[in-house]
Assembly symmetry: C2
Homo-oligomer: 366 residues x 2
């Protein structure tokens, strides 16, 4: 399973694992892949700093990466309180009415009022500044190319930059900005995603950027057969995410709702929708996403307003135990995460099945 990108990062297997959990990231890195810590949940730079210090000390010296959410163009900015004034009353009352109809309890007094500020440009920049004071080998950006000065800042620190792309023209633009690695984010992937499936997108991006730019395939990858398919398509490895939401090491769920929803969902139980952030993203299909598809539902707001609108609702739903009323990004591979397993077992299965697959293809003759 070795490709050039393994040399680039000093890793054994080209399995990149995006995860909001530092425990999971550390376990993947220790198992020979590259754990990539999602930073969007850190409103407070000091929290991220502490978490990265923990990662520095708990990966047995193995490399890790970080993932930020940063638009190339600087969007409407401001404190949460200013932005909230831009949210129409119709949207606020729809959210409140929906939560009532779905029986979602309120948060305890004083909790969750701030929302997730990682979607704001200034906060994402602070994530980069904090990260570069630690020892990540990679900064990935979920929204495509970061601003050029951020890329230069990373390069000056000896850190590679990866950017997600859902179309070949975006990949080319990222490379022109200085991005080192393209993550070909297929339609089947969780979170922000485009409409072109990985089977078509990966080779298209590989051919567009040429042999000097490594491409990782993202979307629908959770097994050795799928890693082999991604590499057959020309990717140097796999970018995975949803796969790691149900591992034993994952410890971020306040209630049991999210984990139960992930464990029971089939591959058809996701939906690509603008309700999470304002940009199309793949989420688990739940009563919450269905409510937004009803005829009386308002149109989701643009980023970053939509996430501010629903941030409290997310906290109320996702802290609970009801798998039918959560709001959770997940890709179509969620149909395969049906039990809680340790990271090391998931990795070992991928590697074994990859080897079997390559042997099978070689034996099927030429």
């Amino acid at each position: 399973m070795r490709t050039d990108i393994c040399e680039m990062f000093g890793i054994e297997y080209p399995i990149f694992a995006f995860t909001p959990s530092e425990k999971v990231a550390a376990a993947v890195s220790k198992a020979g892949g590259l754990g990539v810590l999602g930073c969007v949940r850190f409103n407070d730079a000091e929290d991220l700093d502490k978490t990265l210090t923990w990662l520095d000390e708990n990966t047995d010296g193995k490399p890790y990466g970080v993932d930020v959410v940063m638009p190339m163009k600087i969007p409407t900015e401001g404190k949460a309180v200013d932005l909230k004034a831009m949210i129409p009353d119709e949207h606020i009352s729809f959210v409140e009415r929906t939560l009532q109809q779905l029986g979602v309890p309120p948060l305890p007094e004083g909790e969750g009022r701030e929302g997730v500020l990682g979607w704001l440009h200034s906060v994402a920049r602070s994530h980069v500044d904090v990260a570069l004071a630690h020892r990540p080998v990679l900064i990935a950006n979920a929204l495509g190319s970061p601003p050029v000065d951020v890329i230069e800042q990373a390069h000056a620190a000896g850190v590679k930059v990866a950017a997600l792309a859902g179309a070949a023209k975006h990949a080319l633009s990222h490379v022109a900005n200085g991005v080192d690695i393209i993550v070909a984010q297929g339609y089947e992937a969780g979170g922000h995603t485009g409409e072109i499936a990985g089977m078509v997108l990966t080779p298209e991006i590989v051919d567009a950027v040429g042999p000097d730019v490594p491409v990782l395939a993202a979307g629908g990858i959770g097994s050795g057969r799928q890693v082999a398919a991604a590499m057959a398509l020309g990717a140097q490895g796999a970018w995975t995410g949803s796969l790691w939401l149900t591992v034993e090491e994952y410890d971020l769920s306040a209630g049991t709702g999210i984990r139960d929803a992930l464990l029971k969902a089939g591959s058809g139980d996701t939906v690509r929708t603008r309700v999470y952030t304002g940009k199309p993203a793949r989420l688990l299909k739940t009563k919450w996403t269905e409510a937004w598809e009803a005829e009386d539902a308002p149109t989701p707001l643009p980023m970053p307003l939509q996430n501010l609108l629903v941030a409290d609702a997310h906290n109320r739903m996702n802290g609970g135990d009801n798998p039918d009323t959560i709001s959770m990004p997940a890709g179509q591979i969620v149909g395969r995460t049906n039990e809680v397993r340790p990271v090391a077992d998931v990795m070992a299965d991928i590697i074994r099945e990859y080897e079997e697959t390559v042997d099978r293809l070689a034996k099927s003759g030429r």
Copy 2:
């Protein structure tokens, strides 16, 4: 590239080519794949009979298949004239207004009044009856499992039956009905398709039906890398379609509009919509599909009414030379069909690239 399905049909490569053109089907079979003639365009049993006689005589004795469009449940039936009475005036006037706005000329007097009756159950049955008097090795059904008596009729004639499936539960139901081969039709595929992308769907169906039922991967496949990916995912071969719409042998286009649209389209220039038949199908994105997405557009009718509604419009648009006003099923692989080439060259490239890919994977080490 040999798998068990090659033995089953006596073919050299497990490349199945769905095409409405007998010339293309014959060329694929002669090149070592299996040409599969789409029958839906034949309103007249005698025409199909003649075409299959031509195929019998022009494939150098190589096998070929046929493809019908037959729902498992027998739908509302009747002559076209009865069904047309069920179409709301609003829909008829929308179609007429749209064609006017798009500047689509009327058909010559007396042409194209009948629509495509192959969508009707009785006509699809006549296709099966006619086909079995010839020597197809395979009857495929684009709408899933055919009725059980049709499967038995095929088996009695020594003909295998394939059915498209967009979800594992549908594949299991097809197998329970007696279907021999499952075509895993991914989201990226042209024509009728579901929402699960091939990267996830193919291994899911392979695992669901077990090792005794061959699975062909469909959607987004047009190169050797993609065939290798499909086989890595566990498929015994590839089901292809859009790839063959721009080959030299294709001779069904009345005007230049369709071919020009296919040649210029990128992978992002398709859309999954109900406007073609009433069921979700992937088409080229054109001014016609856009018109149906406008706020004033009516909701598409159920099958078979929608196709009757738009049949004349299709004839008017698709006979012309304007690539922006056509209605044409195509998958996301259309981004790669950018020149007119002979079938033999397309096949040779697939086989060469497949071999290179398997070698590359083997060499990337274990």
